[in-house]
Symmetry: none
Subunit: 210 residues, 4 copies
Amino acid sequence: MGEPSRRDAILDVASRLFAEKGYNNTTTAEIAQEAGVAEGTLYHHFGSKDGIFLTIFDEMVEEYMVGAERLAGEGTNGAGALSSLIRFHFEYLEQNKNRFLVILRDFPNHLATENDGRSAESRNRFRRMTDILSLVLTQGVNDGTLHPSFPIRDTAALLRGILYGTTRHSMLGIIDTPLSRLSRVVEGYCLKALSPPPGGKGTRRKRGTK
Amino acid sequence: MGEPSRRDAILDVASRLFAEKGYNNTTTAEIAQEAGVAEGTLYHHFGSKDGIFLTIFDEMVEEYMVGAERLAGEGTNGAGALSSLIRFHFEYLEQNKNRFLVILRDFPNHLATENDGRSAESRNRFRRMTDILSLVLTQGVNDGTLHPSFPIRDTAALLRGILYGTTRHSMLGIIDTPLSRLSRVVEGYCLKALSPPPGGKGTRRKRGTK
Amino acid sequence: MGEPSRRDAILDVASRLFAEKGYNNTTTAEIAQEAGVAEGTLYHHFGSKDGIFLTIFDEMVEEYMVGAERLAGEGTNGAGALSSLIRFHFEYLEQNKNRFLVILRDFPNHLATENDGRSAESRNRFRRMTDILSLVLTQGVNDGTLHPSFPIRDTAALLRGILYGTTRHSMLGIIDTPLSRLSRVVEGYCLKALSPPPGGKGTRRKRGTK
Amino acid sequence: MGEPSRRDAILDVASRLFAEKGYNNTTTAEIAQEAGVAEGTLYHHFGSKDGIFLTIFDEMVEEYMVGAERLAGEGTNGAGALSSLIRFHFEYLEQNKNRFLVILRDFPNHLATENDGRSAESRNRFRRMTDILSLVLTQGVNDGTLHPSFPIRDTAALLRGILYGTTRHSMLGIIDTPLSRLSRVVEGYCLKALSPPPGGKGTRRKRGTK
DNA sequence: AATGAATGAGAATTCATTCAT
DNA sequence: GATGAATGAATTCTCATTCAT
């Protein structure tokens, strides 16, 4: 932990370069040079260029998922948990812009299709997000704070799409709204879209009613 | 118009290969061979491999934007126009899966950052989407059918993010909900999120009141 | 002669482009476009890209040689003829900078080695210069105005080298002396180097005699 | 020093092939094959085909300039130094025909115009020759052994032109005089052209004295 | 004479990976 | 663990030339 290990130096440099120039436009020679190590050292630690990428990816997603899962467990009620989750998402990305840009820019094209062990496993890790969202939605339905008008699974899929799409557009500069504002906008609209019908919660009977 | 020109043959083959294997994993040699033309012909018509990509992209986005703009102009009221727009979006993509997959998988990494005239122009074209959404939202506010709880521009940005994120996840198989179902889910939630407050539309007075 | 024929338009454009960018860096497509003709037209008139080059070369060298030969015949005495020749050389090049730059920059590398008819013939044309210089030197020896200290042929070779080398360095900007000044410098030194020994013209013995 | 490094093998092969066939007609594949290395190794060491050329050029010119500068410093008097310089020039080229042919045939067309750092720097190196000649001329003027009838700078420019032009014509076979004879011819004429006026060396006052 | 779409044989360059030290 | 010279397969792009119209 004390020694600024070569391993970490490589990951830091690679994160930055991947984010700045994209995975394909970053050469292993550059990474090695900027990290102050020999090119061979990259291979000692990570086995391949893909290995470097997947390590960055895994470490980040794991951290994110752990944070998200903790929040989902803590919430007092479904609506609150969803709010927390949305806020956490945008805060976390705000603080990890570089590393997330890597994923945003390069993941799907390169490793999204291959099915060799590690990259498949990495992708799976991300899918846990849908599970977490489903969980929170179910909780909300049960405690009456959320009233999805479509099946849980589809609603969770929608929420993932909202989080991903808005984050991506903002980070790539396609829209002007910054992440911090986006957080409030997304939270506001999601809660409204999932809000109980006007009459009061008791009147709704579809599913999860007494 | 009748002759299946070499130009079109190239674009068709390239669309398919890019969608199947990704831009980087498709070689110009393959495109030429499958299109039954010489490799030089690719360069005669499109100047570069990027040129082929951008041509596919431009033609598709242009078609999409024209369709979207027409709908936005036709709608009877704001909420109706928004519904139409959302349906059109998912229908259009359903019918142009291949070509859109190309964009989904490869666009940002490759050309999103470069600023050489053509790719910059291409990206601009895409930004018209935010304008259209803003227009429809404004219309809805004026005719009282939509009640955004956040500024128009941020709301439009959110809608773009929703459309993009959900479409992407579905097309890449990250979520299981198919585009057709997604269309209804997105439409339902968006309308609800933008629905007038329970009290009645007449209470709102900001703009467009009597 | 009245119609600005396509043929001439092509030669003019090609001269300029070859001079500006070099033969290898000028494409037939560029020549055709700037001359306002189709690429095929180039081949109708000149058969090949080399053909364009050799035509420019031949026309220029022929003009130059005709001028040089006329002067050599006219001179009142050898020294005078040599002076005229030197002045003519620099004046002619000053007036035909572009076309000469073509030769300066590209001739040897491309066609200097091949021995297929036309390019060999073209090169021969240039060799007439050594003959003219030899002629003038002989004339000067006979009329007592020039006293070469080395065989005529070697002296002529030297003069050619002087003319070529100084012209080249000046036109390519390797030295700062402009052609006009160079003309006087070369003339002055050549006449001095070939001047009769101090004692008088009749006495001419080897060189540097007491 | 003992190991015939791959780097040197590449340079040797490239020198020979460039001289034999010209730069443009020599492929990197050929160089690699004949040098017994992989094509990538060329790029590992020299970065580009141009890089190989410029390395050959630099090493040769540097060697030449060092030799010339040493001679210029050693001479007992100006005329003697000039003689030494001329002899050195032709001897050096005689011994480095191959490498010089490369420069003679290809340099100007290819890199003479581009201004990307390295090639510009290379050309500069060559310009030192004018400085050396100026130095020697100045020395000769001061010690009374040389009497240029034109400004030093122009005279130096002329000398460079003579050396270049005669060498080139001889090496390319445009004239029949071999380098060894040329050496004496050039030396003889240059000294005569720069010789003191008949009146006597002691009187030397600037030039153009009454 | 003129056209210009089509050609296709090259050529330079890239770069992740290996392996002897 | 660390090195970095060497690799070589793979790929995009060039451009003079042809020929059917």
